[in-house]
Subunit: 337 residues, 2 copies
């Protein structure tokens, strides 16, 4: 799916004051990164290395695995499509509602798709299981030990665990070491989310050497450009400077949920900084347009997630005053319906 | 092929004074582009548009075709792999020696590959024909009218014409308008080569609406990052500032060829700023290492092009004094063999 994702700020050029539609930490100070990138701009007249070996090594060091266990891609999306391609025609169970690209990638490569509502419901004959944890759009974390047990129960089944949002929860996820040991798990990780740099586009997979090698094998020369590569290397080296206050963001979204519930909105349980909501009446699409055009507030219309309908939307916690403003505006809109 | 291309400057960090291994115009002033990109760096905290519509429109305007005829990709390489994927399992004739990625892409997607030495030799049953014009590594331009006639003779056969180097020759190529009219031609174009920005990674295809749509259909959301997108839009808007002196570069490579021939090197005919050469004795690989490590001069070992052997190398014309220095050093090396 090309259009229809969140953070479609570009559609409202200059009008948005508070962006609740992206789950990524906002207001991050990128001054150091920018200085580093300005220096890297001096190298755009030269080819980047054909494969991002040094970046792979840096990521491997961070997680205590081998560079052979890492495949760097053009954002996590690129990785999702490569996994689907490597498993073309297989049976895929997808835990839904979830990020739309798993099903789109599986459709592109003729998977036989089934939607399930929990990893436990995976069918015996499912060759691939796709789990987003923390899940998008719900923010729910699936229990890491249960996922590892599921992987151990059938080593012939591939389990893809998208941990793009793992830094936005205090709950534990499957670790890269556990993933490598299991051999039938692919962990997806996103620099976009970890460091709040959606403009850069870097993601990676952690997997067994064989699987990571196959994922790299679907790459093309020079696929990570000079600026992105320089940015990613800087971010890894300055990991400690990027702190995501997961616990306080979660507390803030719980506070929002409380207020939302009082105005009749159903809020689903979340372990993260964002949550899935259902309007008591009216369409999320209309609410979104009204909030954006009238008040400069952007939410995510969640009606296009599998299994959800037009009353669903998703919001990520911002500063308390912005969150309160959003609550007040939504209340106003609901009364007008 | 990930490793083994030219311009492997990254392998000789800081040692190279003159880079003959890249066919791209060097010494280009990117000050305006860099200023524009520094501004764009302020947006790396936001997602780029999920698809590069405005860039497609800009490219379409430049060529007088519809945006529906354009597919923007992560460099021309990305486009080559998409074309191979869309035609998986077909019979492909590749005019060789040529850019290595056509055959690698065709192998990845199980094409039945034949190498031919001229487009005229294409077999009746070939479903795809891959032509690089100007060719890499020879710099030879295949006659545009003959290619159009070939396309007209069998509309069921797809002809891929990689024109990445079209701005480096004075000879005419197939125009985007002719390509769209023919319907069975895909033209590949490279911003990398046109504007000397290999660090950015942007290429595109011009094709019939149906084919361009299929090529775009293999894309993923946000595949062109914020910086690349900003750079590409700037370059299109400042096209006139980027002048490639094709005729004088060609005259200079002819002057080099004259001097090379005098020291026993066979130089193949070229219509561009670069040429393919064959050593009278010794291996290009050894010459390359000696030139790089001893003298800071980088050439392209061309032994890994289909049909070529270890005596082949490729050079692109640089400033006359640098070219003369290269000639002197190669002469010295040949005498030592």
């Amino acid at each position: 799916m090309i259009e229809g994702h969140g953070d479609d700020l570009h559609r409202y050029a200059g009008r948005i004051r508070h962006n609740f539609s992206s789950n990524i930490l906002s207001g991050v100070d990128h001054a150091g990164l920018r200085s580093h990138l300005i220096e890297a701009l001096g190298r755009i007249g030269h080819y980047p290395p054909p494969a991002p070996h040094t970046l792979c090594s840096g990521i491997a060091r961070k997680w205590g695995v081998s560079p052979d266990n890492i495949a760097v891609t053009n954002g996590v999306c690129d990785c999702i499509y490569r996994i689907a391609q490597l498993n073309a025609g297989r049976r895929s169970d997808i835990v839904a509602p979830t990020f739309r690209e798993y099903q789109d990638a599986c459709r592109r490569y003729a998977h036989e798709i089934r939607f399930i509502s929990s990893p436990d419901e995976v069918a015996d004959d499912a060759e691939c299981l796709w789990v987003c944890s923390p899940d998008n759009p719900t923010g729910r974390v699936w229990d890491a030990d249960s996922l590892l047990a599921l992987a151990a129960a059938d080593r012939g089944r591939l389990i893809v665990i998208d941990q793009a949002y793992s830094d936005y929860t205090s709950l534990r996820g499957v670790t890269p070491e556990e993933c490598v040991e299991a051999a039938n798990i692919i962990l997806l990780k996103s620099l976009t989310k970890r460091y709040s740099v959606p403009g850069l586009r870097v993601g990676y997979a952690v997997a067994s050497c064989g699987v990571a090698d196959s994922l790299r094998g679907l790459g093309i020369p020079w696929e990570v450009n000079t600026v992105t590569l320089a940015g990613a290397e800087y971010l890894l080296a300055h990991d400690g400077d990027y702190v995501i206050p997961a616990a306080s963001l979660h507390a803030e979204i719980e506070r929002m949920a409380e207020k939302f519930r009082r105005i009749g909105i159903h809020c689903f349980p979340t372990d993260c900084n964002f949550m899935l909501c259902r309007l008591p009446k009216g369409r999320a699409r209309d609410l979104k347009e009204w909030l954006a055009l009238r008040h400069g507030l952007l939410i995510r219309d969640a009606s296009n997630f599998e299994g959800l309908s037009e009353e669903y939307f998703r919001v990520a916690a911002q500063r308390p005053d912005a969150n309160d403003e959003l609550t007040d505006r939504i209340k106003e809109w609901i009364y007008m319906q």
